[in-house]
């Protein structure tokens, strides 16, 4: 069975505001779903809703044609989420952080050292993450994406805090992931040049 992420009729109300309503999308392997919008337009909320962390006013999100809420663990085993906050512990080293991640989620056969080299953090392995710059910490979070053996990437503003090389690296990584049959949902406030099938949702 090929993997598929889809949603029908999503409506989300936060407090007094309706962030989006009657939103539909479908995402197949090799495709990117780009969520575009201003700050506060509900991109992050939609990502959180896809990850099953927000209850929706109406609508349902499906993974492989079955509602996500009925198979939360399987679904979470198929995704990795790069959030606005990296979710890495500042008091642990890069390797300790990534090892912990490895004990939660299926890991690809990529070698840790090779991946660190690739995202440009191999010199920083022994330092506590706290002492790294924001951009370097984002790169560690990118390493976590590459190391996970999951089809679905959820990326919330992945270009934040990164320099030009870093932004290029993100594009490259996403393209590679899509080419190898993965899929990706990305929230971004500017348009993104990616060489793949892109579905755009404006919020």
């Amino acid at each position: 069975m090929t993997e598929k992420l889809s949603a029908t009729n999503l409506t989300l109300i936060r407090g007094e505001r309706c962030l989006f309503q009657e939103l539909d999308f479908a995402l197949n392997p090799g495709e990117l779903l780009l969520l575009k919008g201003q700050n506060g337009s509900g991109k992050t909320s939609l990502l959180r809703a896809i990850a099953g962390m927000l209850s929706l006013e109406s609508g349902e999100i499906f993974w492989n044609e079955a509602p996500v809420l009925q198979q939360r663990q399987e679904f979470h085993g198929a995704l990795v989420w790069l959030a606005h906050k990296t979710g890495l512990k500042g008091d642990l080293t890069l390797v300790e952080n990534l090892r912990f991640e490895a004990s939660l989620r299926p890991q690809s056969d990529n070698d840790l050292a090779v991946v660190c080299e690739r995202v440009g953090i191999s010199r920083l392995k022994r330092l506590p993450l706290r002492s790294l710059s924001a951009g370097q910490q984002r790169r560690v979070a990118l390493a976590r994406l590459v190391l996970a053996d999951v089809p679905l990437w959820l990326l919330d503003e992945p270009f934040t805090s990164l320099d030009r090389d870093g932004r290029h690296l993100v594009t490259q990584l996403v393209e590679e992931h899509l080419t190898s049959g993965g899929m990706c949902v990305m929230a971004a406030h500017q348009d993104v040049e990616i060489n793949a099938t892109v579905h755009r949702v404006s919020l």
């Binding site: 962390m53 906050k85 979710g87 512990k89 939660l104 989620r105 506590p128």
Partner: protein, 232 residues
């Protein structure tokens, strides 16, 4: 439905990993372990200053004071149980991990107990001696504190999970947890008092044990539910 990925780490591995991670974090910031201990010692010191150093008074009030102090020290440490995870976003990562959330919550509770409950139990004899508690009673005190702090870590994590991310979290946490902790305090302190009066105290130990088992079986689920709700 698709079978889970064969590469998926086992539940047990994730339990060990999160416990290990939290222990490591606590070791990197020893203040988090030491502060509740100092607080415990401080409260136990304040009491004789307030009511007088009479031997009889100390023996009578010792079990109660030690227990209240242990309860408050645990409460003090609970506030930070999920706070740093919430702030740096790793709590969100735990919520979207493919491991059962109650197990991850249990791992955090185990680490919390090992870094606050257990040290309290270990230094309690020292303070108990200043209250002129006989050696065999100190044994009972340690046993009740051992079971009691387990209960408090478990119960407390429910409250900590409910209040994580709230501005007025600290005061609210006490308000939520103290009523829940009352039976533990009552059972623990009375059992030690009974032992001090050389009466039969086994019932108290069994009751505390039963409470710990009940809390162990329910608290991880309640905490997991509370964490999902708090992080919506």
């Amino acid at each position: 439905m698709k079978a889970t990925n064969p590469k998926q780490p086992s539940i047990f591995a994730s339990l060990i990993a999160i416990t290990r991670r939290d222990l490591l974090l606590a070791l990197r910031r020893p203040g988090d372990i030491l502060n509740p201990l100092f607080f415990f010692a401080m409260v136990c010191t304040l009491f004789p200053l307030a009511v007088g150093p009479g031997a009889e008074q100390l023996t009578l009030s010792g079990p109660g004071v030690l227990w209240v102090a242990a309860l408050l020290a645990t409460l003090l440490s609970l506030n930070s149980l999920f706070m740093s995870d919430h702030e740096d976003g790793s709590l969100d990562q735990l919520l979207v991990s493919p491991q059962p959330l109650p197990i991850l919550a249990l791992g955090k509770m185990i680490a919390h107990w090992l870094t606050t409950g257990l040290p309290l139990v270990l230094i309690s004899p020292l303070l108990a001696m200043t209250y002129r508690m006989p050696v065999d009673v100190i044994g009972v005190l340690m046993l009740t504190l051992l079971l009691g702090t387990v209960c408090l870590s478990l119960l407390g994590s429910i409250g900590a999970a409910l209040t994580v991310g709230l501005h007025r979290g600290t005061a609210l946490l006490s308000l939520l947890i103290l009523p829940l902790a009352m039976p533990v305090l009552l059972l623990g302190a009375s059992t030690v008092s009974l032992a001090a009066d050389s009466e039969l105290y086994a019932t108290g130990i069994w009751a505390l044990g039963a409470y710990a088992v009940l809390a162990l079986s329910l608290a991880p689920y309640a905490t997991a539910a509370a964490l999902r709700i708090s992080n919506e």
